[in-house]
């Protein structure tokens, strides 16, 4: 189970901020979300959205172990 965190407009769009998702990889996680909410999966793959796995930014695919934290970060606005 990965712990998925959404921030900013992505959380507003999804209607949730945190959820457990069963997935062994980032692509499996995206597919699982798409199954549930295709528009959200599209937004998570949208321009400027970055992904952090256990608080480190990753590009492309990543393996997910149990209790991995996956965060989807929309373009950062600054403070």
């Amino acid at each position: 189970m990965a712990r998925v965190l959404l921030f900013g407009r992505l959380a507003d769009q999804a209607g949730w901020r945190e959820r457990e998702v069963e997935a062994g990889s980032l692509s499996a996680l995206r597919a699982s979300i798409a199954n549930d909410d295709a528009a959200l999966a599209e937004a998570l793959a949208g321009p400027g959205v970055q992904v952090a796995v256990d608080k480190a930014l990753v590009r492309g695919e990543a393996a997910l172990a149990a209790a991995t934290e996956v965060a989807f970060l929309p373009p950062m606005s600054g403070g």
């Binding site: 965190l5 921030f7 900013g8 407009r9 507003d12 952090a52 608080k55 965060a71 970060l73 929309p74 373009p75 950062m76 606005s77 600054g78 403070g79």
Partner: protein, 146 residues
Amino acid sequence: MITLTEAPFEPGALLTDFCKGRDETGAVASFVGLARAEGGNASILELEAYPGFTENVIAAFAVGAAGRFGLQDWRIVHRVGRIAPGEAVVFVATASRHRRAAFEACDFLMDWLKSRAPFWKKEHGPDGARWIEPTAQDRTDAERWD
């Protein structure tokens, strides 16, 4: 040191603390950013951070800035959560042997914090809430240092 806080903070007290015990520091520069009311169009500013990630990214950037400008020390305090107009949003202080480095590093840190730091910003006003992206001016300010 970077601190994120949901509670309002008193900038003067932070500056007093930062200046204490410095017998080799010739210069301390500081900046305080306040939330604007925008003529009643912004009743509340809401800032979201990713706890653990946001502090690490800011600290890594500030350590780099300290090296670039030869700072002796730096301090950043940033509000998160709901912020009312007139309240302090951000405090930055820099310490160096001479004033130029302190001034420039403070300016540099603020330009980056305003445009590239990992926050998500929502403005609540009379017509509802909207997410804010960095302004073109914020980007231009940050690019001055690239």
